[in-house]
Subunit: 319 residues, 6 copies
């Protein structure tokens, strides 16, 4: 069971250059084979499936906790994509003005046809994420090795997307995730180390380029974010610290467990895109909806809705 907070892990800046092709590239980090959907779902299923957990509790606690953080990562990547797509077509209510003309040449047409300029669980080629990406063999050593490899593959993709897109929204997100993903890489190497005695952490970094080369990562590492593993419920996942401890294999700093809180940052209110009838279209029945609105909100919201995204403080206009 989970509970949810209306918060993001970081305060996501608004894009300087919203761009459908940048958004398309970022999709790899969401729905690619090595994207956040894969990390989220791998660890989630491994935690549901964990056999003999009474004996191997620390490993179970570790996997379950990392799974939990991954939800925030699919969230963060999705918001990045949504921001990169907002306002990239001509806003308005008249379809004859060909408001989506620019979208005809965009690499990923699903952003404009299947979604309302929004994220979907697909990769940078518009291929959808699939459950085939979940590995859960039941053998702990093999599953941990998989997770270690998965995180390294995910890291390679993050680096490459960073090199492809220089928009500050994308880089803030990637920079942060390089650090947090780095924690997960180390966590799985520590787990393998506990199980086998082999110093797997010494293989790092994979690929062999340091997080320090990315300013948006470095700033987080400077305040020690790479040393912290979150525990999402102190009561339920007590033993995670028996694995997560000792020195960080790359810089030798001391690792520590921290109880996760629901602190975070309010997610941006995404602009309306009236030409996509997102969220509502120009011909919603005014009288009908006014009644509804009055009941729902106790005020004349409808009029505003009818007028499109006027002065409301929304994501795009706050830039």
């Amino acid at each position: 069971m989970i509970t949810r907070f209306d918060k993001l892990q970081i305060d996501l800046p608004h894009p300087r250059n919203p761009s459908p092709n940048s958004a398309a590239a970022v999709q790899e980090l969401l729905g690619g084979k090595f994207g956040e959907m894969s990390t989220f779902m791998n660890y989630t299923f491994q935690s549901f499936n964990f056999r003999g957990r009474s004996k191997m509790r620390p490993f179970y606690d570790l996997v379950a906790n990392i799974a939990t953080e991954e939800f925030s990562h699919i969230e963060l990547v999705s918001y990045t994509i949504n921001l990169l797509l907002s306002g990239t077509t001509k806003r308005g209510k008249d379809p004859t003005a060909t408001p989506l003309a620019s979208a005809a040449d965009a690499r990923n047409s699903y952003h404009f046809l299947a979604s309302g300029q929004q994220a979907l669980p697909m990769d940078s080629q518009g291929n959808f994420w699939t459950g085939q990406n979940v590995f859960s063999s039941g053998n702990l050593k093999l599953d941990l090795l998989h997770n270690f490899f998965l995180e390294c593959g995910a890291r390679a993709n993050k680096i490459r997307v960073y090199e492809m897109v220089d928009d500050p929204t994308a880089r803030a997100m990637v920079g942060f995730l390089l650090v947090r993903g780095g924690v997960h890489i180390v966590a799985y190497s520590k787990a393998l180390e506990k199980l086998t005695g082999v110093e797997v952490g010494k293989l790092l970094p994979i690929p062999d380029i340091s997080n320090k080369r990315f300013p948006e990562s470095r700033k987080h590492e400077e305040r020690g974010l790479h040393q912290i593993l979150y525990r999402f419920n102190a009561e339920d996942y007590k033993e995670v610290g028996t694995i997560w401890n000792g020195a960080h294999p790359e810089d030798g700093s001391e690792l520590r467990v921290e109880d996760a809180s629901n602190e975070g940052f309010t997610p941006p209110d995404l602009d309306e895109e009236p030409q996509l009838t997102a969220p509502i279209g120009p011909d919603i029945d005014p009288d009908m909806f006014k009644d509804v609105a009055t009941k729902l909100f106790g005020s004349g919201v409808l009029t505003k809705a009818g007028k499109g995204n006027g002065k409301t403080k929304t994501a795009k206009s706050r830039r």
Copy 2:
């Protein structure tokens, strides 16, 4: 952002007739087009993607809250599958004894080859869940209509799996989910009603067979579980009650919002399956692991691990 608790929504009984083919059937409710992965991911992405939420807050709050509960549902179905698969092959460490012989005729070979007799995000034919199942058009009315339809399709599948498998574990899970899924159907019908004034709820039940015909559902409805929508964070999702209110369209009882808590039931500790080296195999280096174990648990866990699933109180042996 989410946090997680090591709890299940119900106290899942142990199977009377563990069976690979029953487990294979139940997979439809996990990874099928209309399975819980689909409901979880549809609402999750719709919540990330919601445009103009400042104006349409109650709808956003509704979708985000239902998404949250769906996590518990993929969890519950996964545990059901895991229990139905536990102990269905010959336990032991000698591969020459052909311990998986019975699996050769099982409908879904992935349960024995790709997983350690465990759930994977696939359907009853062993086809993996795909992100194509996520619908997020950006238009609120269309997304709500989709969700209403999705939940009805999910309900049809639940009923059919119930009719296919009579094991008490499966039926306890399905019975509960028919009630909670029923809440989500009503929620989306209420949302459409608020938006349009059309009494969509009067279409129910779809398919036209009442939850009352399922004893494992009826008992939950008798204590009013079908009237409650969970709010997962009172602070963050204030307005869900402006949609979830009034009379239940099927029995007229009064709907109410309840703040979700982390109460629930301890998930079963799943038996080891040594013939699948789940979680560890017979040849793990004893000296190496003993050191590790001592450090980790401060006791001689390894000896027990070496001996397989002796007297530990595990899922299977509690039956």
Copy 3:
């Protein structure tokens, strides 16, 4: 543009041994790579796409006409599957009786979960038909060669399904389609011959086993059915006879064009399966539906519907 008649090409007998696994095998002829969906869609798209048709009219007319007949073939295979599935589970309205218990071991679970014991465009492994199966290169010679190969592959599959299932419904269908598919093989060999002068027809039969070995085919060939190409609109497809003429390459009989008519056989009325709420469930609101029914049919249909499939003359009960 097309028009449709409520008729089947043959008078399909009722199965002697309805069987989910027989139905599963027959699916290959519907949604397999070489199934009727493939022949229907290949020729349909090739006809839409035909370039330079004013010069090559006879070829266009041929492809368009064969495409048209293929619709009747997807229809015929679908009805066969539906009949083979009817009554294979326990009929009734009580889900607790586990009416679908037998379905848990059936090879194709979609017949019971995704459909109401009904055909879907998938193959014998439950994999869905895909548009990748359509070949339309634009080069006439290559497209004709493809079609010739496709029909030979389709013939191999028909023969193998015949050898797998001995139920009279399946064999009546396969026997008929071997003959009509045989016409299409010859048609494409004739077309290649007209275009190139090579006696492609002499390659037949492929695979090298004659239709004469199948009693259910032989009876149709004895009345000359293998000599007839249907023209679906004498006005619009005048020139098909410039290709379809001369001697049949296997038995030397004279080929002839015949104008297709809407004669045919009334399709069976498929039994209700109340346990699958197909077409309606036990809890449809009686008062509501009675009003509707009265308006629709002018009589008390509802009572009967409410009672399940009593004495109505339906497919299954007519046997």
Copy 4:
């Protein structure tokens, strides 16, 4: 069974701006999840699969009739794509001139490699249509709800493609299909209404933008085209009028059934594309083919064919 006419539902204008990327966008309406292949195949299979039709005849008749019209829609969209692709590369017989150079940057390479600048059953990302898109649960209410949702989703896509492409060929097609698809939306809402008494039609339009905003639709609605349901065989589908009657839910005009005729418009003769050897290549054996041609057409067609698309009145040159 069907019969076919060499006609299109409308007189399709020739494109002003043929464009591979416009063609790629239009593919969504052909082979997308919500494209015409989906509507055609859903209703076709639902009609084959309809259980208990003797009691529920009007619903069967409705579904079968709508299925029939959908064939004309896959046809119309395919021709639109073919016209948008014609002449978009350098015509000629010399491969060293790199005649397809411009195609290297086109979004959908299959148009140039897998087809001869022609339509294929795929979507706007070049992903092929799949039978997974067919929903046929056997439960009438659920199937009708699905169809209603499917048509609304299809409508959203049509609107978005309209907004993306301003070429008159594309817009004439979309404008017409918005009207005819609109009829199908209303038809399924009426069917649900008859079955349940709920005024489903009042949810319309979904998305909430009226057809009146599209000039190419408005002109058809002004002559009442949105009020007509076609009956494709008066004899066989008698009862469709018991559902299709009363007032149109959007403008209150009176609905009426009309017997479909084979009237329509001659489809354009698509230009040859010699660089793609479509339909034949430059090196077809002249002597061989002359003989063939003489027999087939009684004239020296070959010389012309050998010369490419000289003065023949073809699609492109008629502009």
Copy 5:
């Protein structure tokens, strides 16, 4: 470039219990995500793609050599499947005898419909191998880590198939491949060790169950087969020995490079299956083929072919 020999790596015994479901299970080792198609194709593409090989030559040589051996592995698994399928249906030429009746319940229908009781590149659920299984990031450390993980996953599957099927053909093949795959695991661990200094080999065995527990593996290890890396061309791949040397991480024995030769064992001549017209059908034109045969073989082969598989010494009859 390669050259090929008509030889298998081992002398494959004939099955004692040919069985379609055993064959279906073995398919996982051919076309599964962790099957031999995956190892073959991963290393083949990594070798084609290797950047900077002049500097990193030993690694290139290693990957290219392992790739080469994998071809023999897809070959060996394919023959195993073919033998397990031979003679599992009723042999004969009369289709009305329902010779494939037993196949209707087999887990994998493609063996009887798409192939002539033969191997295809698919897995144990009949899902086809896909190029998505190829990982080639360009980063050497990451690619080596992937390969190490891939081989461990492959090992887990081999063990599980061994435990599922006790037929001597299957076990001889798996026993041999456990040893040779074991060489590849060690090779990649050595490569990682050379690159990073981390003793990756100490993680072995993964899963933690020794090859010694499998008699069919043990016999090969007893003669040192696990110590040998094959070099497929002494001239071209000189430097493989700079990686493959030192002690075996599991038993400390000395590793050595051996130049591969074309020695091996004649593959079995697979029985004809006349009911599947494999390789030819009963109605091949006798006169025509006799001429051909005479020319080809200089003797009256045809008569024999016409008579089916009489006394010819074939795979099946040699048992």
Copy 6:
């Protein structure tokens, strides 16, 4: 069993215009339905699967030999793609310089995210090759017909890629493969002719455009390359000459078998792409790797590696 040589069939020139979109187009010839992966795998599996080979030996020998050559073709196409991708992004070690910026608009993002600017087994739309492309019915005539068709389809694609890309690397490769693929087309037509007496070769060329029109093919045909079938092991595949003999169907020249040798051309050493950490990244631990390097190569390779691709004679710099 195979052995491998570090050679390519031709001396591949370096590209004049490296281009991601050209590389994307060429992928169709590698991983498309009609690409070299398909020819390689079809014939390889057909050879493993060949039933009754003792009687039909010449056909077996033919298929096995053609399969062997196809390996060189996937190799040649892969190197072409790798060369077309080399140096298409900004080389360097600083990720903040957005070195992959140009890749954001490339048609195939996998070249930059999933690979290190390298070939993968996918087609021109980035869809991965699948085992579904393998046809192996067991019936010899049908399999040969398939192969003949497959090669014609492959030829059409080669021609179209040639027309799309004018870079000399791509055209040298395509020109050569048109000739060698042409040999395979003729080989399968000869095989069908031997089996049936039908002059299938007279259908050629398909599509109807001669290889003579392609200068890069003509030069090979002028030296007779189209007349030679390679035998990859004179001992093991003796009888291939009983099929491959007589006159070439297009120009009447005499066909001959030639024993393949390992002659060929050294493959280009592909440039490093440091921004993709291919093969190693900037932060590989210098001390650690220096030790390794010294042991491996006996010299100070590391320094060079640390400095990137300085003066080393690599593919790109040799141009």
